[in-house]
């Protein structure tokens, strides 16, 4: 489902080249659940960005659902994100001017689909059936992340990328979010890629890829 080969990312900073990721190669099978872990600065988020086609690698390739991302231009990658990829962010990233329900509808509307019924379904599913008309600011952190999760699943993505999804939540709320992700992974067969530095959370994944200084230092299956 997801395969990266010899992935390298170099930034130019202060006149010097800074290699953030160095020769990363791995793949995740359909329906898999992988956690990318490592200390801050190890290149986790950069890797996630490259895998999701949010940025271009300096060298190497990413294949997502059989499509090489480097071969697509920015607009084509945007369409690919809309069709096959879901995101969950540490800071939730709900659009503050839209209600919970409208936030969930956006990806479908971008495709030109009517999304009202599906959004209601998903809200129900994440346990917020009666909060659809609330704005993000009126929801707690956990509730916001559940809306974000519903939004990520609204298009039935092939892969869901999550960047520290529990980083801004207390332990109990975080655990319930992970439960929800695991459930959805199981029910819908969505591939999950999770970036975290929380080892308890990583333990829930079926596979753990450990990064340090831009290289894979361990790749273990649970």
């Amino acid at each position: 489902m997801l395969r990266c080969t010899a992935l390298t990312k170099t930034y130019r900073s202060g006149g010097r080249d800074l290699t953030v990721l160095n020769d990363i190669t791995f793949s995740v099978e359909p329906g898999g659940f992988a956690a990318i872990v490592g200390p801050s600065g190890s290149g986790k988020t950069t890797l996630l960005g490259l895998l999701a086609g949010l940025d271009r690698p300096t060298a190497g390739t990413v294949h997502l659902d059989g499509q090489e991302l480097g071969a697509l231009d920015e607009d084509a990658r945007a369409r690919m994100r809309g069709e096959k990829i879901g995101f969950v962010f540490q800071s939730f990233q709900l659009i503050p001017t839209l209600t919970a329900r409208e936030n969930i509808q956006v990806p479908l509307e971008l495709r030109g689909e009517e999304a009202g019924a599906r959004a209601a379904d998903l809200l129900e599913r994440v346990g917020l059936g009666d909060r659809g008309h609330h704005y993000p600011a009126q929801l707690s952190g956990g509730e916001q992340q559940r809306v974000a999760l519903a939004r990520a699943f609204s298009t039935g993505p092939k892969v869901l990328f999550a960047d520290e999804p529990t980083g801004n939540l207390d332990a109990r709320t975080g655990a319930s979010i992970i439960d929800l992700m695991v459930d959805l992974n199981r029910d819908l067969g969505t591939t999950l890629v999770l970036v975290t530095h929380d080892l308890d959370l990583a333990a829930r994944a079926r596979r753990t890829i450990r990064l340090a200084d831009g290289r894979i230092v361990a790749d273990t299956a649970a």
Binding site: T45, L48, G49, A52, L54, D55, E74, D75, A78, R79, M80, R81, G82, E83, I85, F87, F89, Q93, L94, I95, P96, T97, L98, E102, V106, P107, E109, L110, R111, G112, E113, E114, Y135, R151, T155, D163
Partner: protein, 847 residues
């Protein structure tokens, strides 16, 4: 759902969630559109009124006018037309001293001696109503109410005009086409023409205008007569007017007036464009996260642009509609402001075309200006949703920006041309705007460099901190200097032009300047005049001789032939009566522009080969002569050949005896002439008494009280200035909005910086002083550059448009600079008050 549907739906949701967020954009558009709709609606009303009232303005279908009694060719035409069913009326206009014996009041008046049923169209309303219809029944006079007031007189009094006596039977309530400036030189007096002879006033040298008015039967077209007979009549110095010509001429003149007012409105709108742009910059900065998320969710750059473009356009449309509604309200005020300047009564009515044009222009200008910052949303990387501190340094140049810039420039030229009705002037206007912006941009860039390079290390820390803000990343120097500077530049130019115009009109300024002019003194009356002056203890200037004459030929071409084939403008210069003088030196209001002033002729040589003359340079250009060219003059039937020896520039604004043509001494001494002399009498009552005395002794000598003219002129200029100020008020309004907008672009960063500084131990007053330093520098830079720019612009306008002298008015400019700096600092401090109000933790957490 289509792309458009998505964009509209998202835009609507954004507006619903925070409708006030783009308020600044809406307001920036609204003010400019209000100004445009007000002035353009007014123009439409004006055209409408001219169309409906033109016939009443002329009072007939056709009129023939001449400075001499109408020549035979004109009389024959009138006879023919009358025999074919036309109705005829005659009016003779001239100036004279009106004198009311009962109150001992004297005043220069404009007499109109009426014969026949003038006016055929429109009406002269009088009080009492019957006064006009009974005017012809005896020695009656109907007068301007201003005359009664000036002479402390009333209906029923006797009015003396020259040797004749009239009974004032009523006052004029309204007469078509009576405009302020004309009344400034003397209130009107209507009398029956058959008593004209009795006054004895139309003797030699008197200036009079002879007019014939004709109402034509339906079978005769005025326009056709004007076309067929025009050339012959013009060659005989007869001016032909028709309703159609009048209408065109009026429309042209009035459009020029309203066109320039419209330009001020356009400036307000364009300035609003800057406000729109900064509102969008702020807006996008707040929307960064949302945009990045939308990109993550699969929206292409184009679709994101669509969402925010639709939102900006929607708010701009709301602003335009709001502005149009306000414009319709302001429109009601314009006729009152301009009524003294207009020959027609303007009825206001809603002009849908002006509204549509205003809304269209508002929407267009706002969209183009908004597009500049909006283009950047296409480039917001989805990665920004993952890492806030994502660097955008490697963003390549966007070729679309050039396209938008081009559209912006083209729009400015097109809109200005549309507003002034001339492509060339539109381009000049746009060029001026571009130069001003360029200079402002360059100086703001210089300010940034200077702040980075040459900030003196010895400055107190707070000043260094504040001034460093001028060059730090995402500084606001360029935007603020552009916005404030441009607004101040426009304002400064308006102020300078206005003060300079008023300066030129100061006729009696200075204690030694004469304020009373004595005209039409016959040579044999000079001893009486001099005796009267002596008795009153007055000194007067040397009497200046005036010889009336006409042009007979120019460079060998008879003027009749030239008149038959030139247009209206030059025709007037060829047809008019010149009142020339002779003297041996230049006077203080003159300057030699070309050629040489004459030296006394060698004994024995005379003017047989042409006397030397000096011609005013504007006139020389008009009739196409230069130094060395020959002009033959017709002086009371005698041909006098002359050669142009020099050209002079004359400052006409100085109310001194100025002349288009000056002859060398020895040329005109034998010709019949009248004399003019000037004197000064300080107290108005003494002035009145002397005028009275002279009117009794020498009824044909007219005296013009310059201070009365001065007051009337100042009243008129005040009206124009008021109208311009009214329109400039819109510019000032948008300027303030733009300032607020420009400062808002960096507000969030400022708040955060302030919070950090406070966390590190800065007190509130220290932060205030940092802010003060920065905004003082910004305001001072913008104001100083703007002052220089407006000096240049006002000088150019004075030189090429108003053709007058220019003085830089340093006090007013200093006041402007001070005002702009204070305003900038004030808005800057208000803008930063949140830094003080909110606790540092609140701010830092809000991240």
């Amino acid at each position: 759902m289509t792309s458009l549907g998505f964009a509209l739906r998202m835009a609507a949701r954004e507006v619903r969630a925070s409708p006030r967020r783009l308020l600044l954009l809406t307001a920036s558009v609204a003010v400019g559109v209000a100004a445009l709709v007000a002035i353009n609606s007014f123009t439409a009303n004006l055209r409408d009124s001219v169309r409906r009232q033109a016939q009443g303005l002329l009072g007939a279908d056709l009129s023939l006018e001449s400075r001499q009694p109408l020549p035979a060719v004109a009389e024959r035409l009138i006879d023919t037309l009358v025999s074919r069913g036309a109705k005829e009326a005659r009016v003779t206009n001239f100036s004279a001293m009106g004198y009311v014996p009962r109150t001992d009041g004297t005043r220069l008046v404009q007499v109109a001696a009426i014969r026949g049923g003038y006016p055929f169209y429109g009406e002269i309303r009088t009080d009492p109503e019957s006064a006009w219809s009974t005017l012809q029944r005896g020695r009656h006079a109907v007068v301007d109410p201003a005359l009664l007031a000036a002479l402390r007189s009333r209906v029923g009094d006797t009015l003396a005009l020259g040797e004749a006596r009239f009974v004032i039977t009523g006052t004029v309530a309204s007469a078509p086409g009576n405009v302020g400036l004309r009344a400034a030189f003397g209130p009107r007096v209507y009398i029956p023409a058959r008593y004209l002879q009795e006054t004895g006033l139309l003797g030699f040298g008197a200036r009079a205008e002879y007019e014939a008015y004709l109402r034509l039967p339906g079978s005769i077209a005025a326009q056709a007569i004007a076309r067929e007979r025009g050339p012959t009549l013009r060659a005989e110095r007869v001016r032909v007017r028709t309703v159609e010509d009048d209408r065109e001429r009026l429309n042209e003149t009035l459009s020029r007036l309203t066109g320039y007012l419209g330009l001020v409105a356009l400036i307000a709108l364009l300035l609003g464009g800057i406000g729109v742009a900064s509102a969008v910059v702020v807006f996008i900065r707040q929307r960064m996260d949302t945009i990045a998320v939308l990109r993550c969710l699969g929206a292409t750059g184009g679709r994101v642009l669509g969402v925010y473009g639709a939102e900006a356009a929607g708010m701009a449309l709301a602003g335009s509609l709001l502005g149009a509604a306000a414009g319709v309200l302001f429109q009601q005020a314009l006729p009152g402001l301009l009524s003294d300047l207009l020959p027609v009564d303007v009825e206001t009515s809603v002009s849908w075309s002006a509204i549509a044009l205003g809304v269209g222009m508002g929407l267009w200008v706002a969209s183009v200006f908004a597009l500049f910052p909006l283009l950047a949303v296409r480039r917001v990387p989805p990665l920004a949703a993952l890492r806030r501190e994502y660097e955008t340094d490697s963003m390549p140049r966007d070729p679309w920006r050039w396209l938008v810039a081009l559209a912006l420039a083209a729009s400015t030229v097109a809109l200005a041309s549309l507003q002034v009705g001339s492509g060339r002037q539109g381009a000049v206007f746009a060029g001026g705007v571009a130069v001003a912006l360029l200079v402002l941009w360059a100086s703001s860039w210089a300010l940034v460099r200077a702040a980075r390079r040459w900030l003196p290390g010895g400055l107190p820390y707070l000043w260094r901190q504040g001034l460093s803000n001028l060059h730090r990343p995402s500084n606001q120097t360029v935007t603020v200097v552009l916005a404030i500077g441009f607004g101040a530049f426009l304002l400064g130019t308006l102020i300078l032009v206005q003060l300079n115009l008023l300066d030129q009109l100061r006729l009696t300024g200075g204690p030694a300047r004469p304020n009373l002019v004595l005209f039409d003194i016959q040579p044999d009356q000079l001893p009486t005049v001099e005796r009267s002056l002596r008795e009153a203890g007055l000194s007067a200037s040397d009497p200046v001789p005036i010889v009336p004459m006409r042009i007979a030929s120019v460079k060998g071409r008879p003027v009749q032939r030239m008149l038959a084939d030139t247009g209206q403008n030059a025709a007037w210069a060829l047809r008019r009566e010149y009142r020339s003088t002779y003297r041996d030196s230049l006077v203080s209001s003159e300057r030699l522009a070309a050629g040489a002033w004459w030296t006394p002729r060698a004994a024995g040589s005379d003017g047989r080969n042409g006397y030397r003359i000096s011609v005013e340079s504007g006139l020389a250009e008009e009739i196409g002569v230069g130094v060395g060219d020959e002009i033959v003059w017709d002086v009371q039937g005698i041909r006098i050949p002359t050669r142009v020896a020099s050209l002079r520039e004359v400052d006409w604004a100085r109310f001194e005896p100025n002349f288009f043509v000056v002859f060398e001494p020895g040329s005109l001494e034998g010709a019949p002439h009248t004399l003019v002399t000037l004197t000064r009498i300080d107290r108005p009552t003494d002035r009145g008494a002397f005028q009275r005395l002279l009117a009794e002794r020498l009824p044909n000598v007219t005296t013009l009280d310059l201070s009365v003219v001065q007051e009337a002129l100042e009243r008129l200029v005040d009206r124009v200035v008021l109208a311009i100020r009214f329109m400039a008020g819109f510019t000032l309004g948008t300027g303030t909005l733009v300032l607020v907008g420009a400062l808002a672009t960096s507000r969030f960063q400022r708040i955060r910086e302030g919070a950090l500084l406070r966390t590190l131990g800065a007190t509130r007053s220290q932060i205030f002083r940092i802010v003060l330093a920065e905004y003082f520098a910004l305001g001072a830079m913008a104001a100083a550059v703007a002052a220089l720019l407006s000096l240049a612009a006002a000088w150019a306008l004075a030189k090429w448009v108003f053709e007058g002298r220019f003085s830089p008015q340093p006090m007013s400019l200093a006041a402007l600079v001070l005002g702009v700096v204070s305003l900038t600092v004030l808005v800057g401090l208000l803008n930063s008050r949140e830094v003080i109000r909110r606790t540092p933790l609140e701010v830092l957490r809000g991240e």
